[in-house]
Amino acid sequence: MAIAGKRRYTGGLVDVAAGQISREIFVSDEIYAEELERVFTRAWLFVGHESQIPKPGDYFVSGMGEESVILCRDREDRVHVFLNSCRHRGMKVCRYDEGNTPVFTCPYHGWSYATDGKLVGVPYFREAYHSKLDRSQFGLVEVAQLEIYKGTVWATWDPSAPSFLEYLGEFRRYLDLALDAWDGREGGTEVLGGVQKWLIPCNWKFPAENFSGDSYHNISHRSVDLVGIGPSGSGRRDMRERLIGRRLQICFPDRGHQTGAYVLPNEEPTPPAYQHSPVVSEYFRRCEEQRRERLGAWGRVTGAPGELFPNTALHPRQPRSIAVWHPRGAHRTEVWRWYLVDADAPPEVKDFLRQYYIRYSGPAGLTEQDDMENWNYAHAASRGTIARRHPYSYEQGLGFEVENYEWEGLRIPGTVMDVTDSKSSEHNLRNFYRRWAQFMDANSWDELATWRRRP
């Protein structure tokens, strides 16, 4: 079954071949309503981290698209994600952010639900319902699929969506860069207490695009680079990989995921970092050594910002974090940011990183503040009638992508753009919007799972 050539989005509002994308997809309320349906009900979304709900009865209220969901662990230790809305009249059954409970009782009429979602209490069941209501039909609405991957919890409302691992494809290796311990052991990360949540006045795709691999925006961060907040005291990060390795932008056209990465030369050890603290510096030195031993050539790869389609951002290097861009109307986004550390790192290392994370990221972060200002005013200045007639330009590096990229004996999965010399490319950004347009045009996962149609 071939996909029709030109659709409303693919080749239309999103003309990736020409490197032009209409501003309408950012500012139109009608397109926004459509993407809630076509993107957010079908894609896999990040919900939270298992370490937030360690015990039976623990819950954490999260969001999928615009909707509130409850991530909880039932009495049998199974993890669930439910729509946070009573089946009787819709009231939120949980208005706390987190806690532990045997049941979720609706404050309106008192229907109550066990932590496995079953409706277990209906006031006046005998009298008003004459014992006839089929309670088994009115459990909390549960996501169609849920996957716990190295501690992170993902869910989708679409029963026909591929499994999470299939949805990830080879991008899995880059997600691992955020979730594995720094010494290369699988998993091994935990989230710090406290999820940052804040509202920014722009469409959710501005930050999604930025994390997809906008390496062109150095001027945005001039002030923080001048002031120096990095773990070794200069710049905003420790960036010595940049000087000796290859700087890559990597994307997966059939999946819509993309990331940056650095690949270090074969013979060189990873440059030292975190010199502000001998303990932290030594910790990372030892981790890097073990990482090379454990992972071989792949140990030369370190991550850079990435975006797992559609709205989960990865920051695999310090400040190590996962952000979700929750849509809140076409013109507003609620950002949630979780911070990750190696679970068994010494307390001094965790504390050092925690402090660095806070001064870098989030609404008080010296780096992220300036990112947001650009997204906010780009959005505001794109809403006008005249502005909407002029598409944005995404032409950097068009036609220079490389398949089967290899450097010093290491093949890099994905479609790669080596930006070491060219400095920047919009290859990953085009990839994000190409996939977004496919979601908007496609009527089913049969059309979206293009990789299954290959011979």
């Binding site: 208005r95 706390y96 952010d97 987190e98 806690g99 409970t101 710090l192 207490g193 406290g194 999820v195 940052q196 949540k197 804040w198 509202l199 920014i200 006045p201 001027i219 945005s220 001039r222 002030s223 923080v224 001048l226 002031v227 120096g228 907040i229 609620e334 911070y339 504390d351 925690r354 402090q355 994370y357 806070i358 001064r359 989030g362 609404p363 008080a364 010296l366 503040q369 300036d370 947001m372 200002e373 650009n374 906010n376 005013y377």
Partner: protein, 181 residues
Amino acid sequence: MADQREAMAQLFLERDVENFLYHEAELLDERRYEEWLDLLADDVRYWMPMRRNVKLGELEREFTREGQDVNWFDEGKDTLERRVQQILTGVHWAEEPLSRICHMISNVQLLAVTPSVLEPADVTVKSRFLIYRNRVETETDILVGKREDGLRRVDGHWKISRRKVVLDQSVLLSKNLTFFF
């Protein structure tokens, strides 16, 4: 007589501390950031927890913990100085052009004085704030909450040795925290 002397000293101290807090607000609102930094002790702790909605009976989980969790702010003078330096680069876009900011400070209460009101060396003072921030054209934020400060007498002047800022919001309704509380 001793009682009266102590009562007078208490009154004087309250006014003195209030004046200090108003002077501090004045420096911030007039963008005299470097002078504001001089009011902070070298070992100052500046902490603003995040807040969760939790059940009655679990209120100990309402605030993120200083020194352990992710907070809105949890830092010392070094980072605060860098925040000021960043504003003064002129290319910190989130504060360029500069916001118009007004700190309203009220409900000043002395919670503790050591060793005594007659010779106060350290005081704990609680206050309310209402911060109005307007920037560029129409962007406006109003942030309301409480502060609990430790003030220390150094060479005849007050220095802020710790500040806890409790903002009365859970999801932060402002896009950033580029200013000082």
